[in-house]
């Protein structure tokens, strides 16, 4: 499947791109993260501490063990600081 992967805030800055288009067979968000980590050092660094990262699937907050089947847009970002 082909996914649009978005990065926000310091995650976007560390990776150096606001988005990637990725073709992957990853079954879950965690699998996708494992795959991204192997891409390049900057990805490995950006994803070194999952406790400080949140994920949204098709614009809904989700979890790292969530399946990616049917998903088109994955977003990674730090805890939100609105208001």
């Amino acid at each position: 499947m082909t996914l649009t992967v978005l990065y926000f805030a310091w995650l976007r800055e560390r990776i150096g791109e606001p988005r990637d288009t990725i073709t992957t067979e990853a079954a879950t968000v965690a699998d996708l993260v494992a795959e991204l980590r192997t891409r390049e050092e900057r990805y490995a660094l950006a994803f070194s501490d999952l406790g400080s990262i949140r994920v949204a699937l098709d614009q809904e907050l989700s979890e790292f063990d969530a399946p990616l089947a049917g998903v088109r847009e994955v977003a990674f970002f730090p805890p939100m600081t609105g208001g």
Binding site: R12, Q59, F77, T81, G82, G83
Partner: protein, 146 residues
């Protein structure tokens, strides 16, 4: 009911006035306004990043949940993104209900949820450099009371 996510400034007073005038039947209006605060006199400005699309969905979901929990006659959320300077208004919420307790509770609920569940991120610029504002444990903890 209205949700606005915008880069442009908004006029807090004019919004309060229009909101209160538009809430026929409500005896109680509560508004909240968040302002860029320069705690130690070194803040030059702030950039607010957001996730277009998801932001509107998240705010609409939070507002729907508030209307579910309290009998509101109206609600409003305005949140800015982009560059801001100290004393700029960042966002506001307004709620209207027949009874004041409902209007107060709903406004606090909207604030607590949009703090930690709407995809906004703040980066502060000061004389020393730029830093992403870290989420506070107390903001996450505030959600558990609802």
């Amino acid at each position: 009911m209205a949700i606005r996510v915008q880069e442009a400034p908004f006029d807090y007073g004019a919004e309060c006035s229009a909101f209160a005038a538009g809430t026929e039947g409500a005896g109680a209006v509560v508004t909240f306004c968040g302002i860029v605060r320069d705690n130690d006199g070194t803040l030059r400005g702030m950039d607010i990043e957001h996730y277009p699309g998801m932001t509107e969905r998240a705010l609409a979901g939070i507002e729907a949940e508030a209307r579910n929990r309290w009998p509101l006659s109206d609600a409003l959320i305005i949140h800015r993104f982009g560059p801001l300077v100290p004393n700029d208004m960042i966002m506001m919420v307004a709620t209207a209900a027949r009874h004041r307790a409902d209007a107060f509770a709903a406004a606090e609920f909207l604030m607590d949820y949009l703090k930690s569940r709407a995809p906004f991120w703040k980066k502060e610029h000061s004389a020393d450099g730029a830093d992403w504002v870290a989420a506070k444990d107390e903001d996450e903890a505030a959600l558990t009371r609802w």
